[in-house]
């Protein structure tokens, strides 16, 4: 059993409580226009090309078995590119391989930290995820699952008994707006959230703040209303940033540009969830 992983980040301060190792799965079934990890969208491995780093040395074309005409993901161009302009995104891992990486930082997790499975959407490959969770659980590692929730409830049922914390994205409540921003309807997402809440799972909800998409007080009132009826530990507002922008072009996509919200805006929208 293998899955495509595009990064394993150790010593993370930001993906849940304590010190965490975050495992990024490749593949996502939403198409958020503000995505800061666009390379996570595709479910297959791919070569990212960072044009501004390329010094036109021609090495990649020399070593590529297909002269760059087509790509069989052999990774040779990455190995020989002297400037990291070409990067193979997505490496196959077995659950054991992932967990051995996670266990390297076990001493740092203490009582609060642990592993966060993220993506992409880590719940797409739920069989694989379940196996990783089982291994982590048996090694005593605290588990967080970071999900956008757009999967069958049956998938949640499989990971629920093994997960200590869900980091659950809520982009907006209005279904039309959701389709506009992510290309998908949000009824399944909100439905799953309600069920998850009823199941007694520990949930932190994360709301991205995207100017031009959901920076609307009425929308935030709706989100706050919805969440007030649920059993949520904490709501985090994650302001849009443009640091992922160059990755769109590298993945052969064109980004939608948003404005970075100001500190006072961020504060205002955080205010909707102040206890």
């Amino acid at each position: 059993m293998k899955a495509l992983i595009f990064d394993i980040q150790r010593g993370s301060y930001v993906d849940g409580p304590g010190i965490r190792t975050t495992v990024f799965f490749k593949g996502c079934n939403l198409r958020c226009k503000w995505c800061h990890n666009p390379e996570s969208r595709s479910t297959s491995a791919q070569i990212l090309f960072y044009k501004d780093k390329c010094i036109s040395c021609g090495k990649c074309a020399q070593v590529c078995p297909h002269g760059l005409k087509k790509c069989t993901l052999c990774g040779k161009c990455e190995t020989f590119c002297p400037t990291s302009a070409r990067k193979l995104c997505g490496v196959l891992y077995t659950p054991d391989e992932i967990v051995s990486e996670i266990l390297k930082d076990k001493p740092y997790y203490g009582n609060s930290g642990g592993v966060t499975f993220s993506g992409g959407e880590c719940m797409l490959n739920v069989g694989f995820l379940e196996e990783c969770l089982r291994l982590c659980k048996s090694s005593g590692v605290n588990i967080a699952v970071d999900t956008a929730g757009n999967v069958k409830w049956a998938s949640f049922e499989r990971v629920l008994p093994l997960t200590d914390l869900f980091l659950y994205d809520v982009k907006c409540v209005s279904p039309d707006l959701h389709v506009l921003g992510t290309g998908a309807d949000n009824r399944l997402i909100l439905d799953n959230l309600a069920k998850l809440s009823r199941s007694g799972a520990k949930i932190i909800v994360r709301v991205p703040l995207i100017p031009g998409f959901n920076d609307d007080e009425r929308e935030f009132v709706k989100i706050a209303d919805l969440l007030s009826g649920l059993n949520i530990v904490k709501v985090e507002v994650l302001p849009y940033h443009s640091m992922g922008e160059h990755k769109w072009a590298a993945a052969g996509l064109s980004p939608t540009r948003y404005r970075v919200p100001s500190a006072s805006e961020i504060e205002k929208f955080r205010g909707f969830f102040a206890k």
Partner: protein, 707 residues
């Protein structure tokens, strides 16, 4: 801070508290006296010709500085003829691009003088005089006795001056202070102090005998502090004032015009750690010492907190909290577990003695009442250079990494043998000087009738500092990874690339820099090579002793001088991607952005590298952190956890730098706007704009762990 201390801070920062040595005319006929007689007589005449610094704000006085007209203290080593010759010929002048001569730090035995007073030491000298028969030894002991008696007379003179100052001041509080000072100086340091105040005063005045480190302040002051506190004789606030006055003296014993005035490594000591009974000694006085220091806007002294596995999280958090609030970068941390493992294991010291260490200078371990042993700086990377430039045929024919590694250890042993030989020669020369002033307060000098320059103390470690350890490890990693594991680079190609200083091999160099599995990434390859290098160092040094019989423990720190630059400038290209002439690295684990797996991976690599504890000499681990990891309270708690874990995993030391890269880059362009930007490099802290350009560049390159 009280008004009185504020006044003293102003005077200190203006440089007005510095005690300029006064000139003395010696009787020229003393030339006909025996050496020890003459040198000690001159020293005593010199001391009594000095004047204490006294202002109405003081409650303490009596510190004096020696000048080169006499054989003075062991720290500055002025007037030490053979040392001065070594300085002239070898200081800042590497030998054969392999080894350079360095300064020695030390800490006097304040514990003893607080217990028995100078009077008690005189009694020991008298007893020794009855025991020894050798003329030289008798002369030495007599000289010590003369110096001891002179220090008592000096205190009397200071008492007189305090009383004169008391009569001049109008302020009733100040008058009381000065009268108490005058009275106390009639009792101490001749007699053991009776109160906390007198104990601090004793250290204040005796610091003249070795103006380097105050050793283990909380350990010897604790009995006085708790006694006075419970008797209601002092308050916590009184104690803070006394400590601050002591710290201000430590700052002002360096001339403001010296560049060392702003350098934290100039006076460095430890607080707490294990007590002889195996308990963690952190107490209210330790806390008070840290609090007193960080209130002062000064550069000196620097404190290292000794962590033990029994240190509570609350205590560690408190110290790290002080550290993050201290804009002068004066607090560092080290791990007693690892140090004691090497002191008791490799050096064979009994536990009760092993716990009596402090760190001096930049971060050299020293036992109370002793000098640091062999401390030459060594160019460790030279061994790698030799392999690729003088033995390339053997290197090319090495069929496996093991064969290659065996070649490396052979060269390394030969280089280390030579470096040790130089070190012994330095020590032989140093031992030709006789020191009288500091010897009075050092282990073994009276008991063995031997000057501290001659290896008088029993508990000393010798710590050669190997610069470029990380370059060596990274070079070996590159060889293993590219030549033997991946087989993507033939050895012949690597040799040619190095011999042509990467000219024509730019792509290879870039590939190595980009893909090298360098130290700090916590991967199996990088960890295994790094640990293998430390094992080799352990094998080489574990049974080795220097000329005085002291055990070697490896260090890696740089100090004030640019050894890494001198060594680097003469070292040809090395497999880690370094070009000919580039600086070499110092400290353990300095990665300059080559660690790509984050802070925990970096700290794991460092913590695990030396299970043998051979590298518990003068070692430092500088960690550069994004400010956000401590300014934000939630992050700060996580950071505390990380470093506590790092110690539990076996890390020896860490000190933190908080800088944003942009700040540093801008500071190089417009230094005048960044005058207050402070950074810490290898054991000392200084203003960034004061650093030489190469070190500045270094700081900029070092990884910032931004999560």
């Amino acid at each position: 801070m009280t008004d009185r201390i504020r006044k003293l801070v102003e005077l200190t920062k203006a440089g007005n508290m510095y005690n300029y040595p006064r000139d003395v005319e010696f009787d020229r006929e003393d030339l006909f006296l025996l050496r020890q007689d003459r040198e000690s007589k001159r020293l005593c005449e010199f001391i009594l010709a000095q004047e204490p610094v006294i202002t109405e704000y003081q409650t303490m006085t009596g510190f004096f500085n020696c000048s080169s007209v006499v054989v003075g203290d062991a720290f500055r080593r002025m007037g030490h003829e053979h040392f001065e010759k070594l300085l002239k010929d070898f200081y800042l002048k590497p030998i054969d691009n392999l080894s350079t001569f360095e300064w020695q730090h030390a800490t006097a035995d304040y514990d003893k003088v607080l217990r028995v007073g100078i009077k008690g030491i005189v009694a020991e000298i008298d007893a020794a005089l009855d025991k020894f028969v050798d003329d030289e030894q008798i002369e030495f002991l007599k000289a010590l006795k003369r110096v001891a008696e002179t220090l008592i007379m000096w205190a009397r003179k200071c008492s007189q001056r305090a009383s004169e100052a008391a009569s001049k001041t109008e302020n009733p509080e100040y008058k009381r202070n000065l009268i108490e000072l005058s009275e106390s100086l009639k009792r101490v340091p001749e007699n053991p102090p009776a109160t906390f105040y007198e104990a601090v005063l004793t250290i204040y005045i005796c610091f003249s005998a070795d103006p380097d480190s105050v050793g283990m302040l909380d350990r010897y002051l604790s009995p006085f502090y708790f006694k006075d506190l419970s008797a209601g004789a002092i308050t916590r606030e009184n104690a803070i004032e006394y400590l601050q006055e002591l710290f201000l003296m430590l700052q002002s014993c360096t001339d403001k015009n010296s560049k060392n005035f702003t350098r934290g490594g100039e006076s460095h000591f430890c607080i707490r750690g294990y007590l002889p009974d195996g308990e963690d000694g952190f107490n209210d006085l330790s806390r008070l010492i840290v609090e007193s220091l960080i209130e002062l806007p000064t550069y000196i002294p620097q404190i290292t907190v000794r962590w033990t596995s029994k240190t509570s999280r609350e205590t560690f958090r408190f110290c790290m909290d002080c550290e993050r609030k201290d804009t002068f970068g004066r607090i560092a941390f080290q791990n007693d577990e690892k140090r004691l493992k090497c002191f008791t294991g490799i050096c064979g010291f009994p536990f009760e003695k092993a716990v009596g260490y402090t760190t001096v200078g930049c971060n050299e371990p020293a036992f109370v009442g002793a000098v640091t042993g062999s401390n030459s700086k060594i160019n460790f990377l030279k061994s790698v250079e030799t392999l690729f430039f003088k033995m390339s045929d053997e290197v090319i024919s090495a069929g496996s990494f093991d064969e290659f590694y065996a070649l490396f250890t052979n060269v390394m042993s030969a280089d280390m043998d030579r470096a040790c030989a130089y070190d012994d020669k330095f020590n032989i020369e140093r031992s030709k000087d006789i020191n009288y002033l500091s010897s009075l307060l050092f282990q073994g000098c009276v008991e063995k009738a031997r000057s501290l320059t001659q290896g008088s103390a029993d508990y000393v470690i010798a710590s050669p500092m190997l610069l470029g350890i990380t370059n060596v490890i990274d070079s070996l990693i590159v060889v293993k990874q590219f030549v033997y594991d991946e087989k993507s680079v033939p050895m012949r190609t690597l040799v040619s690339a190095l011999q042509s200083d990467w000219q024509g091999y730019e792509d290879l160099r870039r590939t190595i820099l980009r893909r090298g599995d360098f130290f700090g990434n916590d991967t199996d390859l990088s960890n295994s090579v790094a640990q293998r290098v430390y094992r080799s160092l352990y094998e080489y040094y574990k049974d080795k002793k220097n000329i005085f019989g002291y055990h070697f423990l490896v260090g890696d720190l740089l100090g004030y001088n640019e050894h890494h630059k001198w060594f680097g400038s003469k070292t040809k290209a090395t497999p880690d991607g370094r070009a000919a002439g580039d600086i070499i690295k110092f400290g353990l684990g300095q990665s300059e952005g080559r660690d790509r797996h984050g802070l925990t991976a970096y700290l794991n690599s460092v913590a695990k590298v030396d299970p043998f504890a051979i590298a518990c000499g003068s070692t430092v681990t500088n960690v550069s952190l994004d400010e956000k990891l401590i300014t934000d309270d939630e992050n700060f708690e996580k950071t505390v956890n990380i470093f506590e874990t790092y110690f539990r995993l076996g890390g020896v030391h860490f000190q933190l730098t908080y800088v944003k890269k942009e700040d540093l880059i801008k500071a190089r362009v417009t230094p005048e706007q960044y005058g207050n930007l402070r950074v810490r490099v290898s054991g000392f802290s200084d203003y960034f704009v004061n650093l030489p350009p190469d070190i500045q560049e270094d700081v900029i390159r070092r990884t910032e762990h931004v999560e």
